[in-house]
């Protein structure tokens, strides 16, 4: 088997909580707690989960926009977690990010041309003439026109701004793009346009995506494999068809059954789970889902279930499947 493009091993991020007059550390928010996964070249890995599950933190850790507390990230066989900040800055040529809010992630005082040129200046790619050419080229690639280069972000609609965000990520010819909720701020009709664009670009430019989102329909549409996160843990990870057709983890089952489907005749087995998502500052012991799980057993309160391969390529962290696991 070929080496995956990105490999994550035991990644953790604990944010300290300060309290009292002296700001002593009184605890930790375990935003990401021991997750492992890999992404193959040319595929799209979707990461879904509800608010506070750590999916965005994960994206930022991979880019080292946040420093991981523990764990290793390998990109193309090279360890990203051990290198210096300067080396990491150079690595970001190959790993780029697209953000959720196209209003906040583009500098309102810069023209589109300047915004798009910035990554080339930072990484010292080409001469000014080449850079300009590249800007016009990419504007066309993402479905805008070269005359848009002289305009400012506020002159564009939300969908167009997200296209600019994507163009900026593509300026350095990256291998991997981490997209953090790239379409959640957009209207349905515009969302479809941006999703189609991302799929087209993936085909023509042979990109690899990590697609972070909360919308399960969108994630199924775009992903080859999907990981489901809950309270800082990876609950389940499988090929997207398997995950949606035959979810193993009770949380995935509940999550899928909670999504409203645009078909009035659709009858489902609804597993409405009770209660709220616990606070990541004080997560439940054992399996973090045990407080809301309909299949809770005694062991779930005490022992953290291992994230293991249950079927071929289908990983889950749940005590229900502990026996069937290949030894």
């Amino acid at each position: 088997m070929t080496e995956p493009l990105l490999k994550v091993e035991g990644l953790k991020k604990y944010f300290p909580v300060h309290s009292g007059v002296f700001g002593r550390v009184s605890g930790h928010v375990k935003a990401v707690d021991d997750i492992s996964f890999f992404v193959n070249e040319g595929e799209t890995l979707g990461i879904v989960g509800e608010s506070g599950c750590g999916k965005s933190t994960t994206g930022r850790l991979l880019m080292r926009l946040l420093e991981p507390t523990e764990g290793k990230v390998y990109f193309n066989g090279k360890e990203l977690t051990g290198i210096t900040k300067e080396e990491m800055r150079k690595m970001r040529r190959d790993i780029q990010m697209v953000f959720q809010d196209p209003y906040a992630s583009l500098n309102p005082r810069h023209t589109v041309e300047k915004i798009l040129m910035e990554p080339l200046n930072v990484h010292n790619i080409g001469d000014p003439k080449d850079r300009k050419k590249k800007v016009y080229e990419l504007l066309e690639t993402v479905g805008l026109s070269s005359y848009h280069a002289k305009r400012y972000p506020h002159q564009f609609s939300g969908g167009q701004r997200q296209r600019i965000g994507i163009a900026r990520a593509l300026m350095t010819n990256p291998k991997l793009i981490i997209a953090d909720e790239p379409v959640s701020a957009l209207d349905v009709s515009i969302q479809a346009q941006v999703l189609n664009l991302m799929q087209e670009l993936q085909k023509t430019l042979k990109l690899t995506y990590i697609f972070i989102a909360h919308d399960l329909g969108v994630v199924r549409h775009i992903s080859d494999r999907v990981g489901v996160m809950y309270l800082g843990n990876m609950a389940e990870l499988a090929n997207s068809e398997k995950l949606y057709e035959k979810p193993l983890h009770p949380y995935t089952q509940a999550l899928l059954s909670a999504v409203p489907v645009p078909d009035p005749d659709f009858e489902r087995e609804q597993v409405v789970i009770e209660g709220d998502i616990p606070s990541p500052a004080n997560p439940p012991s054992g399996c973090r889902f045990h407080t809301r799980c309909p299949y809770k057993m005694d062991i779930c309160e005490k022992v953290i279930p291992k994230f293991a391969e249950i079927e071929d390529g289908h990983y889950a962290a749940c005590h229900l499947y502990e026996e069937s696991r290949p030894q």
Binding site: A192, V218, H221, V259, V272
Partner: protein
């Protein structure tokens, strides 16, 4: 089946905002009605006028710059547009209640939940004692499935989670047994598992109390699951209206069809998503013709020149599109052949 009486009947509603750029009609000639005990969905994308419609009904359009410039809003056969502010205040929260998208901004962070609930009762029930109001508030909190209702009365909004706050808002809206509940994107700020809880609750309450509900949302899945009838809005106009079954199974307006086709379905993978070309127009930017014409693949000269009326296309189903004009049958055949 005898038709239940209409609780709300909106006729030719026009709400405009007066800005430096002139009059911008956010809601332009909108008609719809809600019957007793019915759940009506209003769907549309941002800027289509769905929220301004609901604010107009509640008499909450910020004025200036906004103003209702035409039409009637008949609530139990009385025209709300003619009501004074004082009369509206008696209606609001009493006969018509509203829930908003963001429960945190709708609750006052400085007052205990209990006081806020009691205030809402005492404003409208002047002869009630505080004790009665307290009992009623606790009763409603239990009805909406809030645990430890008595204790929650003494807590502040920030101590609750998003889902619980939205339950408090629903409890507050139902305190005075309103005839009509307007819910403006009530679950948009919530996570899916919590959204499922809230939608289930609203469905149960609608069945048990018989309160008519207007659910305003952009999420077609939510509409399919909770509403009986649907109004689709685009650029300040109703473009299609009909029972939920026919809207989803046999959508007629090209916009509705495009919208439904662009939603990724969680149940199966489509190869490529259909996407409507172009952008949502700015309110008021399209003055003549069908507002959807610039993005419509069926549009022809007439669509740009005149504004289509609503055509009755099936029983209870209306569509604002010239494709359904009986006089245009030839051209309708033409487009079906083409597609």
């Amino acid at each position: 089946m005898t038709e239940r009486p209409k609780v709300l009947d909106v006729k030719g509603l026009k709400t405009s905002f007066f800005t430096d750029d002139g009059e911008i009609p956010a809601v332009n000639n909108v008609d719809f009605h809600v019957r007793e005990g019915e759940v009506l969905g209003i769907v549309g994308e941002s800027g289509c006028g769905k929220s301004v419609t609901s604010l107009s009904v509640m008499g909450l359009v910020p004025s200036p710059p906004g103003k209702i410039t035409g039409g009637e809003i008949l609530f139990q056969n009385r025209d709300l547009t003619k009501f004074s502010e004082k009369e509206m205040r008696d209606i609001r929260g009493n006969d018509i209640a509203m829930i908003f998208q963001e429960p945190m901004t709708s609750l006052n962070p400085l007052f205990k939940i209990g006081n806020q609930l009691k205030e809402a009762i005492l404003v409208h029930r002047k002869d009630w004692s505080k004790r009665q109001a307290h009992a009623r508030a606790v009763e409603m909190m239990q009805l909406v499935g809030l645990p430890r209702a008595e204790e929650l009365m003494n807590e502040y909004p920030h101590q609750l989670s998003g889902g619980m706050r939205q339950r408090v808002m629903i409890a507050m809206a139902l305190l005075c047994e309103p005839k009509l509940l307007i819910a403006d994107e009530p679950t948009t700020a919530l996570d899916v598992t919590i959204q499922a809880q809230i939608l289930k609750l609203m469905g149960e309450l609608n069945e048990r109390l018989g309160t008519a509900v207007i659910l305003i949302t952009h999420d077609l899945g939510v509409v399919a699951e909770t509403c009986q009838r649907v109004v689709v809005m685009y650029s300040g106009k109703v473009v299609e209206e009909g029972p939920v079954d026919t809207i989803f199974k046999d959508p007629q307006h090209p916009y509705t069809r495009g919208l439904l086709a662009s939603v990724p379905d969680m149940r199966f993978k489509k190869d490529a998503l259909y996407s409507i070309p172009g952008n949502v127009p700015k309110p008021g930017s399209i003055k003549t013709g069908c507002p959807f014409a610039p993005r419509c693949e069926h549009a022809w000269d007439r669509c740009v020149e005149e504004t289509p009326p609503l055509y009755e296309t099936a029983s209870d189903h209306q569509t604002r599109c010239f494709l359904y004009d009986p006089k245009e049958v030839d051209s309708r055949d033409r487009t079906t052949v083409e597609s």
